[in-house]
Amino acid sequence: MTVTLLVDSLVRSVQVGSLYALMAIGLTLTMNVVRLPNFAHAEYITIGAYTALIVSLGVSSNPLLILGAAFLVTALVALGSHHAVFRPLEKHRTSTYTMLLASFAVGLILRYIVFLLADYFELFDRRIQIPLEVWYRSSVVILTNIFFWVVPTSIGLVIAFSLLLNRTPLGREMRALANNFDLARIIGIRVGRVVNLTWLLVGGLAGVAGALWGLYTSVNPLIGWFAILSVFAAAILGGLSSFPGTILGAYLVGLSENTLMQILNVTIGLDFSFKPAIPFIIIILVLLFRPQGFTEFLRSNRGLRR
């Protein structure tokens, strides 16, 4: 019995951790390239999930099509929010707090537009229409096709994204921008184009993550908001500036939310209603005792900044 619970929680940890990694690398990239702790990232996740839901209800239940649509729609929303809000504000040389506040406002507007539409079309707590199949069954664990969609897709995208950042000219330009914005401009990098592509990528990845998250649970207008603080926890654990660190942080957050929670529940009887507090406690502890994150031993940790 206990073994089943443990294995089951480990499976969930891997699943959730992969999704957090996918969400958190986008957030880390926004924080470094455009220097914005973007709380509207939560709403990109929600929009991705809703796009997936709508496509699965109305068009097709082909997972590739669903994920592609989620990527496209969310990428455009992210680019739109950059052009409508963040870029005009940046031009006025506003402070980080103003940008933070603006990202909250964008998030608020997007979230309640989703609420309005979801309410009107009765799309609260719906499941994405993909037939559930059992692909692996043993005495302790059952793995469905959802697991095999979520985990390899997330890991694959994270790897593809890291390769893009480290091996392509675009990635090099992004890193240059993260390192020194003015210098990047001086040496002739087309800053506007790189920033636009960054927003498209960040939005698209958040959208795919949202769609996969929606496969894993059900879709409602708050799923992004509930995930975002775990994602911030992952990014902060990784020191806010590195990909390997962020990915490690994401799995650590996933592990503590599922396996650690399960262990605490079995051993000291901690109720599952305290589960949402885990990422918050991680954030607070890391910021209090190790604000530079826990992963500076990773060789490429200083990759994005300095």
Binding site: P37, V85, P88, L89, H92, T94, T96, Y97, T98, L100, L101, A102, F104, A105, V106, G107, L108, I109, R111, Y112, I113, F115, L116, D119, Y120, L229, F232, I236, D271, S273, F274, P276, A277, F280, I281, I283, I284, L287, L288, P291
Partner: protein, 356 residues
Amino acid sequence: MNIDLFATLIALLTFFGIAALMAISLNLEYGVAGIPNFGQALFVSIGAYTTGVTYTRLLPLLAGQEAINPCGATLAPALQLRSEIMRTMPAVGLGNFVLTLLIAAVIGGVVGYAVSYIILRLKQEWYLALVLLVGGETVRIFVRGYQPIVCANNGISGIAGPFAWVGNTQTASILFALLVLAFAGAAYWYSEKLARSPYGRLLKAVRENEQVARSLGKNVARIRAQVMLIGSAIAAISGVLFALNIGFVSTNDYVVTLTLDVWVMVVLGGLGNNRGALLGALLITLMDRATAITAIQLNRLGTDIEFNYFRYILFGVILLLMLRYRPRGLLPETRFTTPAHQYLARSQETGDARSP
């Protein structure tokens, strides 16, 4: 109809007073001292949870009776006991009110001081914003999961204002509105005095350039923590009044959107200007009521759209438009002259620096 209108006005004034307290507290912290407090909901909720605890535990003790567990099976007798005490024993009710305010202000202030003193020494300043935001949610999750504070999910109802003994509900609500406005007035007067004092100029110096202030030998972290102490205490007091006004303490009220509402007030009114904070609080309170009433009316017409969501969209749009086109707010921060400045200006006119 007339009476109805009058009651609406009283309710509006009460809401305005409470909003004004929150806005003044944030204006002091962010507008004057430049500390990004994204944990307004945390400090307001500290006040509200304190109210939940004192009105169920302390109140019976002050009345010389045994406290009854307000949750679960003994919910009804506990509710009856506290409304009985509040109705019949004015001294106990008022005493409990004053004690609640004191306890809430102390807890809020200490939490604000401690958190900011630790975090503000870090390099990345928006960490404080994040920690306070996250702290508010963490406290909320714990209170929601831990029965003894405010009965977890159920909340605590039947918390009457300090004037329940008056008997007449309308008189009681008028008295409470006056009390809230008096608190708001006092907070306005105090923060206006503070902002114009030498200490206030020090705060503005820290806001404008931290390095300069530090190079002049000022302990920036401590100064900011002190402001957080004052601001959080005011926010906690507003939380007590908030809980007493709606007569109910529930963890669902103290979420991030509350924090954002206060930010909208301050940004709309004008950062660093206490009159702006009052104006922002007034406008947002009016808008909040207006959208709520419109939503009810429109939904009564039988449309399928839930108009309550428009409130949040509207507030988000206001915030963005203000940040973009009037970042200094409707009433921008004004210059003010100290007595020394006035003396200098006068003496330059007369040409003699020594003549008064």
